[in-house]
């Protein structure tokens, strides 16, 4: 938690979103990385954001209700049956 070079923690945090996207202009990126090198708290914040993205990617799809799944499988069955009928000479 330190004022490192010319940006403070609050400003560093505001840059981290674009930093993670690789969208920070080189000059700002260097200022941020200099700040991170001397600031454990902002490094912890950066780690939190990376962890958040990993954790969000691990939640998987929301559960589908059995009823909704059954309805959609009926669609599949109808399509396959009608397809077979269409194919019958």
């Amino acid at each position: 938690m330190a004022l490192v070079k010319d940006i403070n923690c609050r400003e560093a945090v505001s840059l981290i979103g674009n930093y993670l996207d690789g969208r920070l202009p080189r000059r700002e990126r260097r200022r941020l990385e200099r700040h991170l090198a001397g600031c454990d708290a902002c490094q912890a914040y950066l780690e939190q954001m990376r962890a958040t993205i990993i954790l969000t990617g691990q939640v998987g799809p929301e559960d589908l209700s059995d009823q909704a799944l059954d309805d959609l499988m009926d669609v599949f069955e109808r399509f396959r049956r009608d397809g077979d009928e269409d194919a019958t000479p």
Binding site: G22, A37, C42, A44, Q48, R50, I54, L55
Partner: protein, 232 residues
């Protein structure tokens, strides 16, 4: 020898701590693996060969996201459900024409977005410019420095038992996000689409997607931090 961490922006010597570097590598590995969706194409091939279970798996995997994308464009959840079902019918009819130029999921999401757009009666979404910081202002002192450092999430990632609790909390956090944030973070971070793909699906600029995404991630981060600290 100075430790070197190969970050998203190239090798950085002595800038990041060892712990940060490990997280960076894990993050990059994660991003590169989630983008892949080989399994979907395999399921599609099995479905084309008449495998009912392959279709079931695809439906379980994507139906709720299809409803969410549709809901972005239409006024009611019931209409969104109809659009999602029509999308599956379109897949059943058109699967043989899938050429594999884009991933299956990108193709699928394009179908639902196109159908929802033509059905939708919702007014065009306005993305408010949000100038506030991603972290609550009271976390910083008058000089803009952290009063208390953020809690580490490293233990949460390593602990399988905690993972289930965190996953549930993340899911709730996503479902509580405003519509646009929920759609963006679901497509970008849950489904692993690129920023440009999400922008095309939601008719927003890439700059807007990034703004909305940062906001959504910050909300989810707050939720995970509460779990990490033991607050519920």
């Amino acid at each position: 020898m100075t430790p070197v961490c190969v970050t998203a922006h190239g090798a950085v010597s002595g800038v990041l701590s060892k712990k940060s570097c490990e997280m960076e590598v894990r993050y990059n590995n994660f991003v590169s693996t989630t983008v892949s969706s080989v399994d979907d194409e395999e399921l599609l091939q099995r479905f084309l060969a008449g495998d009912r279970e392959a279709f079931r798996t695809l439906v379980q995997r994507y139906h709720t996201v299809l409803v969410q994308v549709a809901r972005y464009y239409v006024n009611s959840t019931a209409t969104a459900e109809d659009v999602a079902q029509e999308t599956w019918i379109a897949v059943l009819k058109g699967a043989e024409r899938f050429e594999g130029r884009a991933s299956f999921k990108t193709w699928l999401f394009r179908i639902v977005a196109n159908r929802a757009r033509s059905t939708g009666t919702r007014e065009k979404r306005q993305i408010p410019i949000d100038p506030t910081d991603p972290v609550a202002g009271d976390r910083f002192n008058s000089e803009g420095m952290w009063k208390e450092p953020p809690a580490s999430f490293a233990d949460l990632l390593a602990d399988n038992e905690a993972n289930a609790e965190v996953a549930a909390a993340v899911r709730v956090a996503i479902s509580n996000l405003p519509d646009v944030q929920r759609s963006v973070v679901t497509l970008r971070d849950v489904e692993g689409l690129s920023t440009s793909e999400v922008a095309a699906l939601l008719d927003l600029s890439e700059a807007n997607i990034r703004v909305v995404l940062h906001r959504a991630r910050a909300h989810i981060r707050e939720t995970v931090e509460r779990v990490a600290k033991g607050d519920r």
